[in-house]
Chain length 412, copies 2
């Protein structure tokens, strides 16, 4: 028996380069089913639901949906609201008033938790209702999933940035520190390893939130690389912490903004990179030390998209509609790796994904905690997609010297 | 009569995404001429010349040169050395010892000046010698040229970054400040204007080094935009200065590193963006204020290259070899726009380019000094190359409200 009513689709949390692929997947697939009376898009995520700010996507053209699908950042706009029970009750009241019978929320683990609570309320009031969470996060930190849509494209950006930074650092030697997004999980930071092509290529050091960061050990690592190669490329996660779990950035910034969840602001500031650069400059007495914070470009840059990521982001949206509409099931769509490289999608109970955080497994991190392993490279490479550039070097032989042949040490 | 001897090619200053196209152009073209006994590449620019660190590029494969051509950042490595007369004398001694008769230096206005001095020394000692400067700079600040190789690709990166930042800022509203490279010339910062597609798209404000930056006026501008749109995207040049010509960054950073030329360090730090963000946050009482410093990715990112820029960078290298070898002439290769869009290359006396800086002309800047004109958009667009993405929005109608229809103001 078909459950007739409206669909609401919404996008929550930080945007990604492919989040609109999932939106297009949900909308285009849902519109095929006769029991769907309308497909609504909530503007600004859950905030748009409680305000009844709905866009009628049944009246959007297929062609424009395809154009929006390849545009980065949440086309329905987003929100940082994390609804509590009362907020979810309001959502549910709106759903009832509008005869919404299907809810698709594209987001991270907080969004999965919202879906879980709304769904529980529907069950308690015997309201026939399907709710599905569609995974999205550049942090790649959702449980159960092999990886999440949005990560591959962000990782591709980080890899391309690291390739370029390595070449730049080689041309004009010094110490370069790149700061990468990821509060708790180091997957995105680790993806910079793809720049390690020739044996002396950077990143030479990679620091992840999964390992305690010790400033003295860090300085020792940098000195060792710099003495060996005359340069050093370092990529650190914005979320690196000390042994006690304090973010390294707290040791430096006096006035710290905290967000609604009580989290310290890590992104949208160059403070961590600048602090580390100052430390290296002063303590190791190295003149040319530079830092870049890759910032919001990692999730929004228009021009660095993984085709694998695009494809999967589209499919999780489509599968969400199919699970709800063909099978009348609730849950979270999860991605499972089945080969090298192939995937399948499953529907996983929301409680297994909601509000939880996945970290880098130990086998992806080297014993010293300052780089990644080949196992991680094997894991991450297919996610970056096809056509990823590779940096090439000149390899011609050196010419014999004439004037300086017998003289002392060269000047540099 | 053909001048027989060696070629030396070198790369100086900050790398670009297409600087190796010019290298490939010089090497591949020079290798065709029978009077060329060897083609040497100096490693680390002029520093490699005085140290006789030459790579014998006559022994490099054509195929690898083509691979290197599409790799960003100086393949021969670079230098910040700015030779004085004595240094140039050493260069000239090495050239004489190695029977170097052709010198091609790919670089900015400092590199042009080096070529000029070396050439003058050759003339004074009656040494038959051809010296050509090949333009390169992401700042687009070389005199005589309509634009310079390297700029188009960096501008494309900035445009793509601004498109993404605008979408991100729209999804999660607030104030976003992006800091762009360019110590004296605002061309690269101005290129962010390409993100202005829909009428309310950012960047809403663009600040260039060509106009005095006044903090109070800036805050007024931001407040006006924020009140009107509920968000504000700002792109500023790292080189913005106050009425007295002091860099804005000096008003904030106590310990400033100065480079060999006595310049304050502007790149490789997030300080300017963070200062401006703090000002907006405190003075305008806006909660969500973020800043990103686009940093070295602007010149080295592997994956954002303008095909027009690639093509021209290759051609200036080829033309340099042709002017020297067919026509026995010295000078600086300059790019001249002949149509929309077409260019020609000329050989310009070194003294007209060497050591001078071009700025944004007045007609490219709006009267308020906080944005660009359509004339600039017309100028810059073809340089970004083909296939530049365009951001698309959903345009479906809003759905009627049910619960909130007659109630008071909505909550947000």
């Amino acid at each position: 028996m078909k459950l007739e009513g409206k669909v609401v689709v919404a996008q929550g949390g930080g945007p990604t380069a492919v989040i609109n692929q999932s939106l297009a997947g949900v909308v285009l697939e849902s519109r095929k089913f006769s029991q769907i009376t309308k497909v609504y898009g909530a503007i600004h995520g859950v905030a748009g639901i409680v305000n009844e700010d709905f866009m009628d996507l049944t009246q959007e053209t297929t062609h424009n949906l395809e154009q929006v699908a390849i545009t980065p950042s949440s086309a329905l706009l987003s929100t940082r609201d994390k609804p509590d029970e009362k907020y979810c009750k309001e959502i549910f009241e709106v759903f009832k008033a509008h005869d919404v019978r299907y809810f698709f929320y594209i987001g991270g683990n907080d969004s999965a938790d919202t879906v879980r609570i709304v769904n529980e309320q529907a069950e308690r009031s015997d309201y026939e209702f399907r709710a599905i969470h569609i995974p999205k996060t550049i942090d790649n930190d959702l449980m159960v999933n092999d990886h999440t849509p949005g990560f591959g494209s962000a990782a591709r950006f980080v890899a391309q940035a690291a390739i370029g930074a390595n070449l730049d650092n080689r041309a004009l030697p010094g110490v370069y520190i790149g700061v990468v997004m990821g509060r708790h999980a180091g997957f995105l930071t680790a993806s910079s390893c793809i720049a390690q092509k020739y044996p002396d290529d950077g990143p030479h050091l990679i620091y992840l939130p999964e390992r305690a960061f010790n400033l003295e050990r860090f300085l020792g690592d940098v000195q060792e690389v710099y003495q060996r190669l005359g340069r050093c490329l370092i990529i650190v996660s914005e979320g690196i912490q000390d042994e006690q779990g304090n973010p390294i950035i707290t040791t430096l910034k006096q006035n710290m903004e905290k967000d609604a969840h009580g989290n310290v602001q890590l992104s949208g500031t160059g403070a961590l990179g600048d602090l580390l650069a100052d430390c290296v400059k002063e303590r190791l007495n190295i003149k040319r030390v530079r830092s870049d914070t890759f910032g919001y470009l990692q999730r929004s840059f228009f021009g660095s998209v993984s085709d694998v990521d695009q494809h999967e982001a589209r499919e999780v949206g489509e599968k969400a509609a199919q699970f709800a509409l063909w099978h009348n099931m609730d849950g979270s769509i999860t991605i499972h790796r089945t080969g090298y490289y192939s995937v399948n999608y499953q529907l996983t109970p929301l409680s297994k994904v909601a509000g939880k955080t996945r970290h880098m497994p130990d086998e992806f991190i080297n014993p010293e905690g300052n780089n990644v392993t080949d196992a991680f490279k094997f894991y991450v490479r297919p996610l970056l997609g096809s056509g990823l550039q590779s940096a090439d070097r000149l390899r011609a032989p050196l010419a014999p010297k004439i004037l300086k042949h017998f003289s002392g040490p060269e000047k540099k």
